[in-house]
Subunit: 220 residues, 2 copies
């Protein structure tokens, strides 16, 4: 389609017929978490937004008294799970090979021989990708998307569906905003345009800024 | 699978049966580009790595004498195409809706009523995603992956397939490496481990550093 200025835009529509099966598996996961009184949180976000660092900060603040399991999704390596494990937290790494997101069945397989009665909180770090993870329910209590001031100004405007499908937004690496000349208020306006009521947290997982209010909002 | 330290890793294997059709479409695109003597370059990389800024820098350096078409892939908006269009370059924006990558057929649709005899170079900016775009041939001469020092240290180790499937690597935002305490040599070692012979360019699309050698390597 050419607009009045002769600029061409093509819109592609793909159908995802796999979602029915995933929704069913997600409901089973949700039942499993509920049965054990577990709060499960899906942490989504692109590569390098600091998802692992955020989980490390949450685990440290919550302390070892809170029984925490961390599930990490990556195409390859155990890097993220090992980082969190070094904080005294139990971890399961899911290696997806080529899959760009976690789905509910992968989470179920990861939980297969885990004694869930040991845990109160499950943090699921999704595959680093701002697009696909938002399309798959995992059966969690909250879906959180982590944005970072290092990603440039257009994350929200280019990914409105990911924002819409999230229950909370964390704007991470807030300590770098000034050095990178990043306009956080502008990003907040973009988020408000997609969803006026979405809870948004300005956080630095590195310095700890904003972590306490985020923990309160998660009900942890 | 639990390893000797009791750490659990689950490996998921998904089958991509769609690739046959895409490879055929990619061959048709390649023939089309060849017929018109066009060099087509697929620029891949995660959100905020500076793909658009890199294309802007390339267009400016190549000048208006070089007849350039830019195709931009995003889920939504014309932001990237419009940025490049402001440099006097013809553009087509592909809005993929929910698709996390471009495929060869999308590119073909984007080219449908374009007079290719006008161009010598086609830059295709893929959807911001370090994973899926690498799995789809578009029929281009070179597949380039753009990494950024803002993404944290593990991009290569977590995404070896994307590196393997690329013909060149650009490490962008090199001007920020020191401020972010980013170890570029370490990243280079990770790349060398995946592919010892892959051409790698240290670039700042912002300051222009490294752009000339990248252009030479592209044969432009």
């Amino acid at each position: 389609m050419n607009d009045s200025e002769g600029r061409k835009t093509v819109t592609v529509d793909i159908r995802k017929d796999l979602f029915g099966a995933n929704e069913q598996a997600a409901m089973l996961n949700a039942e499993l978490f509920k049965k054990h009184g577990i709060k499960a949180i899906d942490i989504m976000g692109s590569v390098g937004t600091g998802k692992t660092q955020l989980i490390e900060a949450l685990c440290d603040r919550l302390g070892r008294g809170r029984r925490i399991l961390m599930i990490a999704g990556d195409l390859a390596t155990r890097i993220d799970a090992d980082r969190v494990a070094s904080h005294g937290v139990d971890t399961v790494q899911i290696n997806t090979g080529t899959a760009c997101h976690l789905d509910a069945r992968m989470v179920r397989v990861a939980l297969d021989d885990v004694d869930l009665s040991k845990y109160e909180v499950v943090f699921i770090e999704n595959v680093g990708n701002l697009i696909c993870p938002a399309g798959y329910s995992l059966g969690v209590s909250k879906k959180v998307v982590v944005l970072s001031v290092t990603e440039g100004p257009y994350m929200v405007r280019k990914h409105p569906l990911t924002i819409k499908r999230s229950d909370m937004v964390v704007i991470n690496k807030i300590d770098l905003a000034e050095a990178l000349e990043f306009d956080v208020d502008r990003l907040l306006e973009d988020i408000r345009e997609v969803d006026a009521n979405l809870p948004v947290f300005r956080v630095s997982a590195k310095t700890g800024e904003g972590i306490d209010s985020f923990i309160s909002a998660l009900g942890l």
